[in-house]
């Protein structure tokens, strides 16, 4: 059975899950409405009480829309952060917090990290399993954008070669991310540090010239300025990693004795096994730690997953409370149609018809609110993805799918069961008392 389920296409699985959630609604609806035609009366009653009906529908729409958009946005955020970490196979840094190193390297968050010295850099990048290695030297900014000193192979790796203009060929040349406001030819003025703590005067004698602009990567690196690492060292009045007679060289090989240090190195092995081997080789040594950003993100997701469950539970509780409030309001509304229902029963309408009218009224309210809520969620997630994505520098791609619609369907289906309570209570009311109002 499990094999059969696993063998189904995802769409078929989602469809079956949606159908399972819809089952209570379909079963109750079929049992109640079989052979009856309550809709003309239901439509007329909805039209008569259109103001409270519109308020109920709006309340449900906001509740359902908020719930769906939070769940969908969280999923999009997770996918966005995972995508941002995609190009960072293995990070080697000085021992410390891997989360701090992850935030600094993948998400370019300001942090104070110790440096790997030249000998360590040489040992790491000279390992026979290494197929790709690039230093990542961050901590400065230029006109508000984080500056990262690195090597040209990283530029190729990050941009996949999609650069407008050209890569740097000399000291002082910069390639900017697609999200920066800088154009090719612009002169940038470096500052020591990032944000409010940046010291604009520390490197005031230096200037960077933009020569290229990367295509969007959907990561915080879209907001970065990339430079030859030698230019970063020069701005700090440090050696450039090369002997004086090769002072104009950019990129490896570096002279270990003249290597000022880098906070992190991005590595990739020749094979996946090699990359795992590199992690094993440089994790937990005296000079280094090594981690897979994806693994650290998973750990974060696990921690955040608990929070997500709490938020999801709170969302569900909120939805249940809204549904309860709406049904309480609805129960009050049913008092207004008590006399009409008594007339129907006095005329000989089966009790099931009266239950069907009241239940259909409630379900129409819930279903309308849920449909409107899904539409609202489409707008909400677009706004959230745009605002949060812009602030975090992440491309958050959130689109609602069948599972999100299933959430709304589940809400309507469960609410249709709760709606049986006021509907069945109509059945128990005294007919003559109802007729006399």
């Amino acid at each position: 059975m499990v094999d059969l389920w696993d063998g189904l296409p995802v769409l078929a699985q989602d469809g079956l899950v949606a159908l399972a959630w819809a089952l209570p609604l379909l079963v109750v609806g079929a049992l109640l409405l079989r052979g009856l035609a309550p809709w003309p009366l239901v439509r007329a009653l909805l039209a008569r009480f259109r103001v409270p009906v519109a308020l109920f529908v709006l309340l449900i729409a906001v509740s359902v829309g908020t719930g769906i958009s939070l769940v969908a946005f969280e999923r999009g955020l997770r996918a966005g952060t995972a995508r941002a970490a995609d190009r960072f196979d293995l990070i080697v840094a000085a021992p410390g917090s891997d989360i701090t190193a992850l935030m600094a390297t993948v998400f370019l968050q300001p942090s104070d990290m110790p440096l790997l010295d030249g000998a360590t850099y040489a040992e790491v990048t000279g390992h026979p399993a290494v197929a790709f290695a690039a230093p990542l030297a961050f901590g400065d900014s230029a006109d508000g954008a984080p500056v990262v000193g690195t090597t040209a192979n990283f530029l190729d790796h990050l941009s996949a070669g999609a650069i407008e203009g050209r890569a740097w060929t000399a000291h002082g040349e910069a390639v900017v991310g697609a999200g920066t406001p800088f154009a090719i030819g612009d002169a940038l003025h470096p500052a020591h540090g990032i944000g409010d703590f940046a010291d604009a005067e520390a490197h005031e004698s230096h200037e960077y010239r933009v020569v290229g602009r990367m295509a969007p990567t959907g990561s915080p690196w879209d907001g970065a300025v990339l430079l030859p690492i030698e230019t970063v060292w020069e701005a700090h009045d440090l050696p450039t990693g090369h002997a004086p007679e090769r002072a104009e060289q950019i990129g490896p090989p570096f002279d270990a004795a003249l290597f000022p240090g880098t906070p992190a190195i991005l590595l990739r092995g020749h094979t996946l096994a090699d990359t795992y081997g590199l992690r094993a080789a440089f994790q937990g040594t005296e000079e280094t730690m090594a981690f897979f950003p994806g693994t650290v993100l998973s750990r974060l997701y696990n921690v955040l997953g608990d929070m997500r469950q709490i938020v999801s539970a709170l969302t569900l509780v909120t939805q249940v409370l809204v549904a309860a409030a709406v049904l309480t309001g609805f129960a009050l509304l049913t008092r207004l149609i008590r006399r009409q229902m008594a007339v129907l029963r006095a005329l000989g309408a089966p009790a099931r018809f009266v239950v069907a009218v009241v239940w259909s009224l409630a379900v129409t309210l819930m279903a309308s609110g849920a449909v409107l809520g899904v539409a609202l969620a489409v707008g909400l997630v677009a706004v959230l993805a745009s605002v949060v994505g812009a602030r975090a520098g992440l491309a958050i791609d959130v689109s609602l799918g069948l599972p999100d619609v299933t959430l709304a369907l589940a809400f309507v289906s469960l609410a249709s069961l709760i709606a049986l309570l006021p509907a069945l209570s109509m059945r128990r009311q005294d007919i003559v008392a109802g007729l006399r109002g």
Binding site: L45, L344, L347, G348, F353
Partner: protein, 226 residues
Amino acid sequence: MGASGPGLRVEDLIVRGDRGRELLSVPRLDLTPGGSLGISGPSGSGKSTFLFAVAGLLKAASGTVAWGDAAITAMGEARRAAFRAERIGIVFQDFLLFDELGAADNAAIAALYAPRGARDGIRARAGDLLSRLGLADEDRPVPGLSGGERQRVAVARAMAGNADILLADEPTANLDRPTATRLVDDLLVRCRERGASLIAVSHDETLLARLDRRIEIRDGKVRLDG
């Protein structure tokens, strides 16, 4: 004229209200098939209670109410509802129409819960009755109708289900004399055409005088049978 509606037989009927208070006591009452009966009496004397009891809307504490062979007091709620739907038409005091619906939809309300095969017949009869009652093609919402028009819609609703028992509670109350006369004419003609048995609660002497029999109910008891 159609086949006669069922006769009514009431024996030792007692209906009680809150805390066992006796609301109605009818030792014996018969109505011949297709006959008509008027009920008069002061307000609160038990007239409507009698009407509700013979419609099976109130549960009798004891005694029997039977329409022909059908003892309504012995039926469960579902069967009583089905009996009303098939056999009894009721014109309520204050009309009790659905303000949300137009005249035609009100008259054909039974089509919403009738078996699928009977719905077209109900709608056709409702349309025909409205037409004969002077409300052809009338589908204004109920709040836009006059009192007389509402009462005629109520009569059409009561008879659209092909009932052969018609119960009317103050059908001419609040109507001016010409409208009341026209409504009584309509009511009696429709009952005669269908051979329906008619019981009408009324203070209207003109209506009561045109029925086969009349009784008076006072303090829940039948005082006068003439």
